[in-house]
């Protein structure tokens, strides 16, 4: 079977219901080959359920998932041999060594003994666990377990890697390390990666595309700048933060003259401009012309966090109106 389009991962009206609870609601997700896709959403948004359906570990109530053109329900083995899955809070057999755990995975994948040993060695080296390979997993720290989890995925040599909350419970330094590792996996190895997380700023730097999942619905999807754009176009009001030297009262007067500014207020150490269109260009020109030098100019509310919060609020509003 060949894929008609170049989507490694695609869902078509995917639904999952647990009794009355709708965990995943008509999800249409598309992930192109070779990108890092971030599936964002608060706890209980249906991220893990979606992932389990993609792996064929849970059957969808209706709709279909396609992984590289295969339906995980109909050809589970093809899908599972292509996809490496790192569950949240990954677990290993504590009484076995790290190496043996990986060898078991390799054996389940039907990798021959010699090749398996080579792959395990290589994977352990790559995640920096060569020294601890023979130690029992029971003695591993949380961060080491996570790294062993990635090695476990690498042993399989998958086309697509799905990571469920990979940054959970790891210290900031470990997170940076993990993120750069994820980047490597995508850019150097050319693997497609699907990440799920509820901490947006953490994965912002590695994701080529993000989808925001709230209450089982994909409410936005695209590159981060796409999302910004979508947000801005819908926005009637935007807020600008401004700092400039010299820092004096007259600054407000200049800002007032610019077309589009509705309100000006001083907030702590910066000036807050409320306006109904994008005036950044005009503002900077005007400031320079009047011998002011802007040192800080930012659109408020377009970091990924605020996008996410805003979408989340909208969703609530929508539900509020509905009821």
């Amino acid at each position: 079977m060949t894929t008609i389009n170049n989507y490694v991962l695609e869902t078509i009206d995917l639904c999952k219901k647990y009794g009355d609870l709708v965990a995943v609601d008509n999800l249409n997700l598309k992930v192109e080959e070779g990108i890092v896709y971030g599936l964002l959403g608060p706890n209980g948004a249906g991220k893990t359920t979606t992932i389990l359906m993609l792996l064929g570990l849970t059957e969808p109530t209706s709709g279909q998932a396609l992984v590289n053109g295969y339906d995980p329900c109909r050809s589970p083995l093809q899908v599972k041999s292509m996809v490496g899955y790192l569950p949240d809070n990954v677990g290993f057999y504590d009484e076995m060594s790290g190496e043996d755990n990986l060898l078991y995975t390799a054996a389940l994948n039907g990798v021959a003994r010699d090749e398996a040993q080579r792959r395990v060695k290589h994977a352990l080296k790559r995640v920096g666990l060569s020294h601890a390979g023979h130690k029992k997993v029971g003695q591993y720290s949380r961060g080491m377990r996570q790294r062993l989890g990635i090695a476990d995925v690498l042993v399989k040599d998958p086309k697509l890697i799905i990571m469920d909350e990979p940054t959970l419970g790891i210290d900031p330094e470990g997170i940076q390390e993990l993120l750069s590792f994820i980047k490597d996996l995508a850019k150097e190895d050319g693997r497609t990666i699907l990440l799920s997380s509820h901490l947006l700023h953490q994965i912002q730097q590695v994701c080529d595309k993000v989808g925001i999942l709230v209450k089982g619905k994909l409410i936005a999807s695209g590159t981060i700048s796409d999302l910004e754009q979508q947000l801005l176009s819908q926005e009637e009001q935007m807020e600008l933060e401004l700092k400039a030297v010299p820092w004096e009262e007259k600054l407000a007067g200049i800002c007032e003259t610019i077309d589009g500014v509705d309100k000006i207020s001083w907030q702590n150490d910066m000036l807050l401009l409320e306006c109904h269109k994008d005036i950044r260009e005009d503002l900077v020109r005007e400031l320079i012309a009047s011998n002011y030098c802007p040192t800080h100019l930012a659109l408020r509310g377009v970091s990924l966090d605020s996008i996410y919060l805003r979408y989340f609020h909208k969703e609530e509003e929508y539900h509020g109106k509905g009821s």
């Binding site: 389990l52 996809v83 899955y85 569950p87 990954v90 054996a107 389940l108």
Partner: protein, 333 residues
């Protein structure tokens, strides 16, 4: 030509079977290794070993003192069935007592243990079918049980030979092997039950307790209940006629036979004692004039056949329920 085509067909069938059970061998190998190297199993195996050697010693010394007193037939089988005054249990009763415990120990955390360690989703995301895991765990358990049962059986047989010096006949050997196979099936029933408990209860301690509770009920309380129920249906007093008494006894027996423990004990006492000819109540007039004698191996096997079939069926039903509920269960914790 035809033969070649047939061979091709079998080969295709074989590959299909192998394909469908991908990963099964790997799971079995790992689980057997886990069991054999685990502390839990070591403790239990040691306990069973010590008690069995104890029972062998008592049996051998009892047989030796009894030599010449009455006609001793089937000395080899008596090694397994004789108990002495210092130790009121024979090898047979030890296995029927400790066997279920071995089965329960091997299986009570089969699935919920994987859940606890959060390895279930990781293992199932590998390219194997879901049933490979539960089949592998059950098969591994059966293999370990076979190793223990056959190992112990032949150990006791060998040591008994040295101690008594009486070699077994072919019939006796066949009886012994039948007995050991029966024990494996019986213990596998408890393994299947333990796996079922490990699916129904999320906590490993709860599933262990549930397994032990069912075992206690089946092994001890069901016979008491059966007696009560039989007395309720066919009350018996001093003036009851023989039909009433027989009906009472038969009802009690039939209800008791729900329990695999009862079936097993009926089957093994009959197969290990060639003098047993019937398992139901026997009237005096039926026994009157009967010539004292023993059954051949095939006749004994015929006698216990219903019990054997029931035991296998109960084991398979138990495993089938576990299998189905595992296939339907949600993977996520």
């Amino acid at each position: 030509m035809e033969r070649a085509a047939k061979w091709q067909n079998t080969k295709a069938d074989l590959t299909r079977i192998l394909e469908a059970n991908k990963g099964l061998a790997t799971v079995v190998r790992k689980e057997v290794g886990d069991h054999l190297s685990g502390k839990r199993f070591a403790i239990l195996a040691l306990l069973v070993l010590v008690t069995c050697l104890g029972s062998l010693y008592v049996a051998a010394s009892t047989i030796r003192t009894n030599v010449g007193q009455d006609e001793l037939e089937f000395v080899f089988l008596r090694l397994f069935t004789t108990s002495g005054s210092s130790m009121p249990f024979s090898f047979l009763s030890f296995i029927s007592f400790l066997g279920p415990l071995v089965g329960l120990t091997l299986g009570f955390d089969a699935i919920n243990g994987e859940r606890d360690r959060r390895t279930l989703s990781r293992v199932l995301s590998q390219p194997i079918f879901r049933d490979a895991l539960i089949n592998g765990k059950f098969l591994a358990g059966v293999i370990v049980i076979s190793i223990v049962v056959f190992g112990l059986g032949f150990l006791v047989a060998g040591l008994g030979l040295i101690m008594t010096g009486v070699p077994p006949t072919l019939g006796e050997l066949a009886r012994l092997i039948t007995y050991l196979v029966l024990s494996v099936i019986y213990i596998s029933f408890w393994l299947a039950l333990a796996i079922l408990c490990s699916l129904l209860f999320r906590q490993t301690s709860t599933s262990a307790l549930a397994g032990i509770a069912i075992w206690l009920f089946m092994a001890f309380f069901l016979t008491l209940l059966a007696g009560m129920a039989a007395d309720g249906i066919y009350p018996v007093n001093d003036n009851s006629d023989s039909q009433q008494i027989i009906a009472n006894a038969k009802t009690e027996q039939m209800i008791s036979r729900i329990s695999p423990a009862y079936l097993y004990s009926e089957a093994v006492t009959s197969i290990m004692n060639p003098a047993v000819r019937s398992m139901g109540p026997v009237l005096l007039e039926q026994a009157y004039g009967a010539i004292k004698g023993t059954l051949t191996f095939s006749q004994s096997l015929l006698l216990i056949w219903p019990q054997v079939v029931c035991l296998i069926a109960e084991m398979l039903i138990c495993f089938a329920i576990a299998y189905i509920s595992f296939m339907r269960q949600e993977i996520r914790a």
